[in-house]
């Protein structure tokens, strides 16, 4: 009978594909929307989150997110270095600047200033240029999509000049960074240079980043720093989550995406459930005939469950495949979505959602089939 169920399913290609694609689109919708949401919200600490070598982040005690920064006095770095159990600590600048091309066109940019000596926070994926050249006067790196937005359609070359705060900067390298939340270009310079590319303030130090000696956990080191200096100190993870939480709680993003995901869920459920339910309804006459011929309810249940399992599995695989293809396919054409992929948790989650949906619709379909009077087979 399992074989008959299988043939009923695959024999009618149109209905079969209809149901499979129904599930696939449901999975695609849910997976795609949830992944974009997670991708966007986890960008909020970019490009600072690229500085992975730092397990300790120290900043002003009232900092709420990675975009609104109250600078500390420059000597904070020495105070952090003075805390016991800290292996190293360096300065990190983050701010906004205005980059002007020689023809006058300008863009707001994210400016990162990394420690001159250690270059902690230097880009990891360098497409062009040499990291050592960053120490030369006026030298900056720019991220690829920033370059492309300043010089659209032009090939990547180094040596181009921009002006920030009336000071000349020479692009000596092009790199990749994690896509920032606001799609501004990212400019990376040495700390000593970077502070010159923005208007002078009394305090300029955004972060002190560092790592503890082996044997001291970052969390423990953070406690000691806060106790000794009164500054806020967080582990890398806490820092990234601080910003994510801030955006979740203080912006419309979660609500907007929440609505989209719920809509994706509802539409996905409707499509997936509906197509499978219809599939069963259209086969009701045949199920009636089978029941008349002596197929008992247990076997009928097995048949319906097998059909929903097959449709669910194939539809799910196809949906995840389409979601992957979507993100792969838009890598080039939609730079806004670069770096967004499908976290395994979302893949598993949409799988669970599909299991729930298919179980519910199987139950509905089953109720229809099991309560079917076999005598209906005699009626037209």
């Amino acid at each position: 009978m399992i074989w008959v169920a299988w043939r009923m399913l695959t024999g009618d290609t149109a209905k079969y594909l209809g149901a499979v694609f129904g599930v696939a689109f449901g999975v695609l919708l849910i997976t795609q929307q949830a992944s974009v949401f997670v991708g966007i919200i986890s960008r909020t600490a970019n490009p600072l989150s690229d500085v992975r070598e730092a397990s300790i982040w120290v900043c002003d005690e009232y900092l709420q997110n990675a975009d609104e920064i109250e600078p500390m006095s420059d000597n904070a770095v020495y105070r952090v270095r003075g805390v016991e159990g800290i292996e190293w600590a360096v300065r990190l600048y983050k701010g906004m600047a205005r980059a002007r091309k020689p023809n006058g066109l300008f863009r707001q940019v994210i400016l990162l200033g990394i420690d001159d000596q250690s270059l902690v926070g230097a880009p990891r994926k360098i497409l062009m240029g040499d990291l050592a050249s960053l120490r030369r006067p006026s030298a900056v790196f720019i991220d690829k999509s920033g370059y492309e937005s300043l010089w659209p359609g032009e090939p990547l070359t180094i040596g181009r000049e921009i002006e920030m705060n009336d000071r000349r900067a020479v692009i000596v390298g092009i790199c990749e960074t994690s896509a920032p939340f606001q799609s501004f270009p990212v400019i990376i310079a040495c700390y000593s240079q970077a502070t010159g590319f923005v208007a002078r303030e009394r305090n300029q130090l955004s972060f002190v980043v560092g790592a503890p000696v082996p044997g001291v956990s970052p969390a423990e080191a953070c406690r000691r720093i806060t106790a000794q200096t009164g500054l806020m100190a967080m582990t890398y993870r806490e820092f990234v989550w601080l910003t994510i939480k801030y955006y979740m709680e203080n912006t419309g993003i979660p609500v907007n995406f929440g609505i989209t995901i719920v809509l994706g869920f509802v539409v996905g459920t409707a499509i997936a459930g509906q197509t499978f339910y219809l599939f069963t309804l259209e086969n009701l006459r045949h199920f009636g005939a089978l029941k008349a011929m002596g197929v008992n309810n247990r076997r009928i249940t097995g048949m319906v469950l097998l059909q929903s399992l097959v449709i669910g599995l194939i539809g799910y695989s196809l949906g995840i495949g389409m979601a992957v293809a979507f993100f792969e396919g838009t890598k080039q054409s939609l730079p806004q979505l670069r770096g967004i992929n499908i976290p395994w948790q979302i893949a598993v989650g949409s799988g669970l959602v599909m299991i729930v949906i298919m179980s519910l619709t199987s139950l509905l379909s089953l109720r229809k089939v099991l309560t079917l009077e076999p005598a209906v087979v005699f009626r037209g």
Binding site: M1, G11, P374, A375
Partner: protein, 259 residues
């Protein structure tokens, strides 16, 4: 001939007067209260094995309801049905379903073949239901299809067959597991005269040669001649019970000598 040799060959010659189907005081109501409709008003019939019984009468008189009850697809409001000595009321739930799987074959007006299975696969289903393995079931199904003259179309999809051919596939499916009772509801209603005759001829052969009880609901007067007995219904009652002039044995003999 497979159809004739499926049950013990020795039992073939004289038709035993064993009651195949016995109905007693059958009443069937549909709905309840204001909307209650009595479809059967106390039916008493006995149908013997090896006989082809036609159930005729105007549309809505209760023919389908009666055979649905006999086949165990509907429960009567009152009265009893005994099939080959087993009272139906003694069978409940899955036991009734299993009894049906083993003892009853169905032929429907609309054929009800699974469109995505080939002819031979459709025919094999009742065997799978009673626990045969697929290769053996397909082999036996093919043999029965050859019997009904469809040896050339074993692997055709039902959608590629004519109405008459589809009904022959349906008959093969109804017979493949050698049920003792064959229930057919308007099997020729959707067919042209020629196919109708073929189908009825097949059913007739089946009834007599293998000692089965065959009940055919029809209001197709072109096929009345095939019945050994004609039960006429009107308004939920049997109004006439007549045995046709030509005895069943005689008819089959003359058909056999003709072929």
């Amino acid at each position: 001939m497979v159809l004739a040799t499926v049950s013990e060959p020795s039992a073939k010659e004289e038709v035993p007067a064993v009651a195949g189907v016995a109905c007693h005081g059958l009443v069937k109501d549909f709905g309840s209260g204001e909307n209650r409709l009595r479809a059967l008003h106390g039916i008493d019939i006995d149908v013997r094995c090896g006989e082809m019984t036609l159930l005729v009468g105007p549309s809505g008189c209760g023919k389908t309801t009666l055979i649905s009850i006999i086949a165990g697809l509907l429960t009567p409001t009152a009265g009893s049905v005994t099939l080959f000595g087993t009272p139906q009321s003694a069978l409940r739930g899955d036991r009734l379903v299993d009894f049906r799987a083993q003892n009853v074959g169905f032929v429907f007006q609309q054929y009800n073949l699974l469109p995505s299975l080939s002819a031979v696969e459709n025919v094999s289903i009742p065997l799978l239901v009673v626990g045969w393995r697929r290769p053996a079931a397909l082999q036996r199904a093919a043999a029965v299809l050859r019997e009904v003259g469809l040896g050339e179309r074993l692997h055709s999809s039902p959608t590629k067959l004519s109405g008459g051919q589809q009904q022959r596939v349906a008959i093969a499916r109804a017979l493949v597991h050698e049920p003792r009772l064959l229930v057919c509801d308007e099997p020729t209603a959707a067919l042209d005269a020629q196919s109708g005759q073929t189908v009825m001829g097949l059913l007739k052969q089946v009834a007599v040669k293998s000692d089965r009880t065959v009940i055919v609901v029809t209001h197709d007067s072109r096929v009345f001649q095939f019945g050994d007995r004609v039960l006429e219904m009107a308004d939920g009652r049997i109004v006439q019970d007549s045995v046709t002039p030509r005895g069943s044995q005689e008819l089959v003999r003359s058909e056999n000598s003709a072929s």
